[in-house]
Structure formats: structure tokens, C-alpha cells
């Protein structure tokens, strides 16, 4: 249990928060440790004392975000319709934090390349999201909200794809698209389609 001193913990927190902004802005490869260090007000070597290389820093940032994000996506033991509305709530929340959404878009885009340090992280993340959403849909079928025999995995993949795809469009051209309304429209149509 080598925890470190209090000042170190605070510093690490500050580095993570700063690194998140930089990675979100410039991606993994476009971000420099020197710039993160400068914005976190310590030397570049000082930064590397806390995170011993760039790759570990990125992974730490992703985990750091995941903690909060996973909680939000953990749909809990609600019904299927409530879970879909909760997803719409996630989109609504995301529309108020473009910086975080951008982190996932930029890193997620880069991470499609095998060999990118975030590749495995992204794969695990999608698998977990899919499992959560599919489970909620299946619960909906058991509760009689949705027709039995629905393809829960396929619908989960589509829901996640829709969220990601709309986010990209929104980040590139925020005035053009009303992400929240468009996603809500999808959820409404889906609920109608899945009705028993």
C-alpha cells in the first residue's frame, strides 16, 4: 500500500484533469507531456514522476473518466422503458459537457487502430455497455413491456451506435443538430416498435 503523501495525491488529480482536457483537444498522439505539465504547473520530469510514461497517463485518464461514466450507464434493475429513458437522460447530460464527449470521440476514433494504447480499453468499454443495455432490454421483455424474442444485443448495439454517431455530428456542427431531440425520437420509435 504505497499511497504517497497528500500533496502527491492532489497533484495527480490535477494532472489527470489537465491531461483529460489536452487529450480531448488534440488526441493521444497530438498531445505533448510538456504542455500538460505546463498547464498543471509542474515540470515535465515532475509529471513523469507521477505517471511514468505517456501511455500510462492516457490509460489513467480513461479509467478516471470511466469511473464516473460507468455509474451513469449502470442502468440498475429498472424496467426496459425506464432504461431507455435513462439512456436519453445520458444524452441530455452529455449535451451539457461537450469536453468529456469530445474525449471519447477523439480517443475512440484514434483507438480503432490496433496498437493504439486505448484500443483494449475501447473494446472492453463497448462490451460492457452492450451487456448493460441488452440486459435492460431483456428485463423489459420479461416485464411484458416489450415483445418476447426481441434481439436484445442488436438493439443494444444500435442504441450505442446512435449515441456515438449523433455525438460526432453534434461536435462537428453543434448548431445544425439537436442531438437530444433526435435521440429521443429514436427511443420513441423503438419503444413503439418493441411493443408486444
Amino acid at each position: 500500500m504505497k499511497r504517497g503523501y497528500a500533496s502527491g495525491t492532489a497533484r495527480r488529480e490535477r494532472i489527470l484533469a489537465t491531461a483529460l482536457l489536452e487529450f480531448a483537444e488534440h488526441g493521444y498522439r497530438g498531445t505533448s507531456l510538456a504542455r500538460i505539465a505546463e498547464r498543471a504547473e509542474l515540470s515535465q520530469a515532475g509529471l513523469l514522476h507521477h505517471f511514468k510514461n505517456k501511455e500510462l497517463l492516457l490509460l489513467a485518464v480513461l479509467d478516471y473518466r470511466d469511473e464516473l461514466d460507468t455509474r451513469r450507464f449502470d442502468l440498475g434493475p429498472t424496467g426496459g422503458i425506464a432504461a431507455l429513458r435513462a439512456l436519453a437522460g445520458v444524452v441530455e447530460h452529455n449535451s451539457r459537457v461537450p469536453g468529456l464527449v469530445q474525449l471519447f470521440s477523439v480517443i475512440g476514433g484514434e483507438a480503432v487502430t490496433p496498437g493504439h494504447p486505448g484500443h483494449d480499453w475501447a473494446r472492453r468499454r463497448y462490451r460492457r455497455l452492450r451487456a448493460n443495455v441488452a440486459a435492460a432490454l431483456r428485463r423489459g421483455a420479461e416485464l411484458g413491456e416489450f415483445r418476447a424474442g426481441l434481439d436484445a444485443e442488436a438493439h443494444a448495439d444500435r442504441l450505442i451506435a446512435m449515441m456515438d454517431g449523433l455525438q460526432t455530428q453534434w461536435l462537428i456542427d453543434p448548431e445544425r443538430i439537436d442531438m437530444v431531440t433526435v435521440f429521443n425520437g429514436y427511443v420513441d420509435d423503438l419503444i413503439a416498435t418493441l411493443r408486444p
Copy 2:
């Protein structure tokens, strides 16, 4: 009309093809001109004779791909249902050219950042795609295939988001997801929903 010699035209073509692969693999910021030059078998300075800086090279690659891609997305004066099936055909085609899909995913991800050289290109591209798809849906409504009063723009945004989002999942975890089938399922559900 300063066109250049034949050897130059061929060389430029080769550079573009090589650069496309590199940008698709490492993104804009992760790609080096030296590596492109090496794979295109000329010196790095020789490359910069044809494209005078890195940004112009990326834009040339994007235009180069767009030419082919736009034709594929130009849904022509078909009916609405035929247009949706054509989109499914695009997805089917994409599933056979992961390299190209990866270019758009990687560059598209990076390009959400204002200031990225591909940002304007991406915005124009989405606007054009949306206009094409929405027009086809409206034609479908006029032909009586779809109910009148459908929100053509919102459905276009969703179709494009679905394509992009599924592509990302597929690139990250190709064995897990059957992109073609999952997209076809969306199109089927959509046709049912839009029936008059």
C-alpha cells in the same frame, strides 16, 4: 492550366494512395511525411514538391476519397425504400474495405476538434450526406411509400449516425458485431415505422 508531366501525375496518385493508408492507420497527427515518402519510394523533400505541406496533403487525400465515396452516396432519383436499401448496400460494401472505413473513423474522430485541418471538410460532408438522404426520404413520402409529414432531416441524421456508430464498433471489435445485419435490422424497422 499548369498540369505537369505524366510522371508527376502518376507519382501524385501513388502518394495519395500511400498517404491514405498512413492517415487511416495513425491519424493526421500520428502520421509522418517521411514515412509516406518512404512507402511511396521517393524522398521526403520530393513529396513536398507535389504537396507543399502536410495539411494540403491530408485535404487532397480527403478529396480523393470523397470523389469515389460521394458517387456511392448519391442516391439518385430512386424511391425512398430503394434509397434505404442502397444505404444498406453502402454498409455492405464498407464491410469489405475496412481500410477506407478506418480513414473516415480516425480522421472523423480527430476532426471534431475545431482547428483540425479536416474540420471543415467533415462538416461539409455531413451536411451533404444529410441533404441527400433527407431528399430521398421526402421522395418516398411523395411516392406514398412513407407517411406524409415524416421528419426527413431527423431520420437522415439517425441513419448517418447509425452507420458511423456501427462502423466504430465494428472496427474496434470486428468479431463481435455483424455490422451489415445490425444495420439491415434498423432499415427494416424504419421502413415499418414510416409506413403510411
